[in-house]
């Protein structure tokens, strides 16, 4: 009984416990904060790099262009060859593209519907023109993807096939 009633030396013990608790709490807080920050930083960094990889892996080309003089429309076929048909880790990307048509430096038509082209697919995009064209006219067709890759193609309006 004397053991329990004797409080001599209790204060240092309690002080030590409190001190340890405070130190541990602060330590765990610091560790937790640092861990979360590093995780967020890591994820952000990965997402940024992944976006950069998507940008450099995007591949598309203007495969064909034709002009319909009856309805004054330009048809642009775009081929997304990102996968290239071979076993690559990074190239399997769908793309969204806008098409702009210029004549003598002036924009005469565009299609800004962000048309989706699946990986390995190709699609025809219609562009209504504000001015009619005649054989021999030179156009610049610009295709911009959502990832801001750009492909240019020149097109000379041919005379009728017939």
């Amino acid at each position: 009984m004397k053991l329990f009633t004797n409080r001599k030396g209790l204060t240092p013990v309690v002080a030590t416990v409190i001190l340890c608790g405070v130190v541990l709490t602060i330590g765990i807080s610091v560790w937790s904060f640092t861990y979360n920050i590093s995780s967020v930083l890591g994820d952000d960094y990965y997402e940024g790099v992944q976006k950069r990889i998507d940008v450099i892996c995007e591949r598309f080309t203007i495969e064909h262009i034709s002009y319909n003089s009856r309805i004054n429309e330009l048809y642009v076929w775009i081929f997304n060859y990102g996968n290239a048909g071979i076993d690559v880790m990074y190239g399997n990307l769908n793309i969204n593209v806008d098409v702009y048509v210029f004549k003598d430096g002036e924009r005469i038509g565009s299609n800004t519907a962000s048309t989706l082209i699946s990986c390995g697919g190709f699609i025809r995009i219609f562009v209504s023109l504000s001015t009619s064209l005649s054989p021999g006219n030179e156009l610049v067709v610009e295709v911009i993807s959502r990832r801001e890759n750009v492909v240019y193609q020149t097109y000379v309006v041919p005379s009728a096939w017939l």
Binding site: T16, Y35, I53, W77, M89, G91
Partner: protein, 256 residues
Amino acid sequence: MFTRRMLFRRLGSKAGMSTVFGMLIFIGVLFTCVIPLFLYVNQVNSYYDQAVIEMRHIDEDKQREMIDVYAYPYNTTSKAIYVYVKNQCPFSVDVIRIWVNDHCYNYTLKVPGLGWNVTEAVDLTGILPPEGNITIDTKVTTRRGNIVSSLVNPLYYSAAVGWSSSGTLSINVVINRDHQGTDTFNIKITKIGTGEVICDEDVRLIGNTKSYVKRVCLPQTGTYSAIVKCNGFSVYEKIDIQISFGAPCYWVYVSV
């Protein structure tokens, strides 16, 4: 006695404990947060580098892809064309589409490295007019994204006359066969008058290859002779082929 006193004093003293705790926390943070983050960033960087290298290889393959394309009619009155693809690069090439004017034909044709292949007949009934004439431009698209035009572009089709071609001075030799096996053809083009041999080339058709085309470019107008032999036997011989700027191209059709 001195030793005991020193020992207890040391154990009983709390001086320096915070330094120890601080160091432990610092080391804990270092090993559980900073170093893994550092390794993770390194791994992501190597992932990026790998992507760059792989795409660079793909771009190099695309640039090195080199094919010669010849579109030719089966005969002068045919409403179909064949597309002959000669692969000049060491890796195989996949042709995935054939364009004839503004019409697209989905077609899969594998051309082995440094080899050649020819399509089945591409029916142009919907393109060729029943009367009048039309210009035919042909090109193919490869899986790597290259678009290659036919070397014999443009072809002219007239409903009344049939096919003809213009452009460079040339004799186009088309060999068709209806059987399998190995045949060796010799194509010899000679200029009449000077006796200059423009082309003397052996071509070996193997397996079930049905068709072959050879374009022989000519240095000048004049009269030429064309002799085609199959396994040593003459199967075609014409000695008065007139090449002029009005009719710069002549088609030789050989069927065996």
